[in-house]
């Protein structure tokens, strides 16, 4: 008789902020098989293109996900702009970059907190989220929303940030950076954290590539790929290099994201310093006709918007392939062979975002 335990893990489960299910087959606590099941957040919003015109769809795109909301909006707009050949004002590009990086910081801090919670380090969770609140304050002050920015717009941005505010942001970011240093110390140097993270859930370089992993997951396995290198928005105007790690384990993923926190603050500083004056949007006329694969770098990796217009107000097709979707194959492959106690943490190291995944 085989001594295999089978438990339903999720959709409602305290470690999972979002519904996803894993059928865990275990021997003692060793996971031997994990079959995922999804679909609890599937809304089918891609089909809304039939009911909403391409400008309204911006609101929908922003609400695909409350964590990476802004970049969703940005990517959507970027795609439409490419189809319609709209020249976006340069200041808008800089603003977009600024918000993208702010949202990256907030997303990564959120994730660091959750992952700390998943390996049972409550106070680290609390501190990560405490710092995150300060980022949210900046976001709210500049966009009017804490998580749904609502500032993306085809042809530019919906709001401008005045220069005084920009200066204040630099000061705030510097302060946040100081606090982030403290928690990153714990993440990177604490013995008990390393004990849990090092050597767990290793994804080799080759696997990472062939399983289609993206974002920090891919970079943690030593592959240099970051869609910001496509130089959308203002990424071409600032100096930066993707953050990399080599080990491919959970610790490497933490390393990459912690690194990106500081990379982001650095970018914000550069963006604000180099921010040109000028208008932030242009008027949009006509309807999109054509197609484009818009690719940008979300906090979790490459997102793809495939947009196809036929000259009418309504798009013919919008398809969103989100980073989490691309990372799920990798996680399904590395789950077997780990301990039950590591399952939540492992799941979280891909930084899953189910609402993105299922749309």
């Amino acid at each position: 008789m085989s001594n295999r335990t089978i438990i339903p893990f999720g959709p409602q489960h305290p470690v999972l902020p979002e519904p996803i299910h894993l059928d865990l087959v275990m021997e003692d606590e060793l996971v031997v098989e994990a079959i995922p099941r999804i679909g609890w957040v599937h809304r089918g919003l891609e089909k809304l293109v039939e009911k909403k015109d391409f400008l309204e769809m911006t609101y929908v795109a922003e609400r695909i996900c409350g964590i990476c909301s802004f970049i969703h909006g940005l990517t959507y707009c970027h795609g439409i702009e490419q189809i319609m050949n709209i020249e976006v004002p340069i200041r808008a590009h800089f603003l977009r970059t600024l918000w993208s990086e702010l949202s990256r910081i907030h997303s990564h801090l959120l994730w660091l907190g959750l992952v700390a919670d998943a390996f049972g380090f409550e106070s680290l969770f609390m501190h990560s989220w405490r710092i995150r609140e300060k980022v949210l304050d900046i976001i709210e002050a500049t966009t009017g929303g804490r998580v749904i920015f609502g500032s993306a717009k085809v042809g530019g941005t919906r709001r401008d940030i005045d220069n005084e505010m920009l200066k204040r942001i630099i000061a705030q970011v510097t302060e946040i950076e100081k606090e982030m240093k403290e928690i990153s110390q714990t993440f990177l140097n604490d013995y008990s954290v390393q004990q849990r993270l090092k050597g767990v859930g290793i994804l080799s370089k080759a696997d990472a590539n062939m399983l289609g992993a993206v974002g920090p997951m891919l970079r943690a396995s030593g592959i240099n790929q970051d869609m910001r290198k496509l130089n959308y928005a203002a990424y071409g105007h600032i100096d930066w290099e993707p953050v990399m790690a080599q080990d491919g384990d959970c610790f490497a993923r933490v390393e990459v994201r912690v690194g990106e926190l500081f990379q982001a603050t650095d970018m914000i500083r550069q963006v604000i310093e180099k921010m040109p004056e000028g208008p932030v949007d242009v008027k949009v006329t006509g309807s999109p006709n054509g197609e484009f694969f818009a690719r940008t770098e979300q906090p979790r990796g490459e997102v793809i918007y495939y947009l196809k217009g036929n000259g009418s107000k309504n798009l013919e097709r919008m398809r969103v392939r989100t980073p989490t979707f691309a990372n799920i194959p990798a996680i399904t492959k590395i789950l077997p062979g780990i301990q039950l106690a590591d399952v939540p943490m492992m799941l979280l190291t891909i930084d899953p975002c189910i609402s993105c995944t299922e749309r």
Binding site: K52, E56, Y59, V60, R63, S123, H127, R130, E133, D137, E140, A141, T142, T143, G144, G145, I148, G150, R158, R159, E182, I183, Q185, T186
Partner: protein, 100 residues
């Protein structure tokens, strides 16, 4: 860090004992300064969630706060600029309050 926090003031903001001043430009809730409204129904058409109902004949303008996603589209579109996005969020309601 842990010890430092123990001896320093907690980061907690004591809502509802204290209320924070809402941020300028924060998207909270929509009001219509009805006296200026022309009942043109543009806002109703633009609203992505159909939260606004305007009746041209009866001259009524109503918003369902349980539908508004504070996207600001109506404000942007209103020709009379009579819609305003307040910085205060709309309040929650119990089922009893709603059915009243």
């Amino acid at each position: 860090m842990v010890l430092k926090s123990l001896f320093s003031k907690p980061a907690t903001y004591m809502y509802p004992l204290l209320t924070r001043e809402p941020m300028v430009g924060s998207r909270g809730s929509i009001v219509n300064h009805v006296d200026q409204c022309s009942y043109c129904t543009l806002c109703q058409k633009k609203c992505p969630t159909d939260a606004i109902v305007v009746d041209r004949e009866k001259k009524t303008w109503a918003i369902d706060s349980m539908r508004c996603i504070t996207c600001n589209a109506c404000v942007d579109v209103c020709p009379k600029s009579c819609l305003e996005m307040l910085t205060t969020y709309s309040s929650s309601k119990t089922a009893a309050e709603l059915s009243r």
